[in-house]
């Protein structure tokens, strides 16, 4: 109980951000996010990670799409913890994280991590760290749907 209260206190420290986007993250949305940073002239380096749905072949069947689902309340708290930790660990100017919910087809983008800093090292290191944290600690699940409409549950690897 105390731990939960501790987190909700922390959450007032910085405003909550919406991470989840219904369906795929469009290239236009990503381009627009980059463009919005042109006014922030203290930034010297951006690093971006984009996760794309792979058309894996499993037992002779191709993945057509992934249907993502989440434990929303816990995922939002986790994303918030990751944001707070990244800001204290790395010298970042700003950070944006977006993840899809629902159906994302093979070839489309489901994760967009965007970090900015004065110099490249902080951006490179933070981006990698954030992606690994998301994969390991945020309660998100993915159903890999095959072209014949059968499916299997995806599990993250360390690759």
């Amino acid at each position: 109980m105390d731990a939960t209260n501790g987190i909700s206190k922390n959450m007032t420290a910085r405003k909550k951000h919406n991470v989840f986007i219904e369906g795929a993250i469009s290239p236009a949305f990503i381009a627009d996010s980059i463009a919005k940073h042109s006014t922030k002239t203290n930034i010297g380096a951006h690093d971006i990670f984009l996760g794309q749905v792979r058309k894996d072949e499993i037992n002779g069947k191709n993945v057509y799409a992934i249907e993502y689902s989440t434990y929303t309340e816990m995922a939002e708290e986790k994303f918030h913890e990751i944001r707070e930790a990244a800001f204290s660990k790395f010298d970042l100017t700003c950070m944006h994280i977006y993840h899809s919910n629902g159906i994302v087809k093979a070839g489309e983008i489901s994760l967009f991590v965007f970090v900015s800093s004065a110099h490249r090292n902080a951006a490179f290191e933070a981006c990698r760290w954030i992606v690994e944290e998301i994969k390991a600690n945020v309660p998100i699940w993915g159903k890999e749907i095959f072209e014949d409409e059968t499916y299997q549950w995806k599990e993250n690897t360390n690759k």
Partner: protein, 75 residues
């Protein structure tokens, strides 16, 4: 107390939420669910209590929110 099931675990139990009579700790809840849904015994999962991953056998309050979480697949 309220239980939540996600992903493949919601498919096995046929439920996303289930209200049960209070149990003292997470181990008791897990055993109860494994008895009710034997297929859970074959599954890998973690438990979250009030949205925080439980370590070992955690004590519970009657109003605890207990979630059964299969392996994560975000990204």
């Amino acid at each position: 107390m309220m239980l939540k099931f996600f992903g493949q675990l919601a498919e096995i139990t046929g439920k996303t939420e289930l209200s049960i009579s209070p149990e003292e700790n997470t181990e008791a809840v897990i055993n109860k669910m494994k008895q009710q849904f034997p297929k859970l015994k074959e599954q890998t999962f973690q438990i979250a209590v009030n949205r925080i991953i439980a370590k070992d056998n955690q004590q519970l309050e009657p109003d605890s929110e207990i979630a059964f979480l299969p392996p994560f697949a975000g990204g």
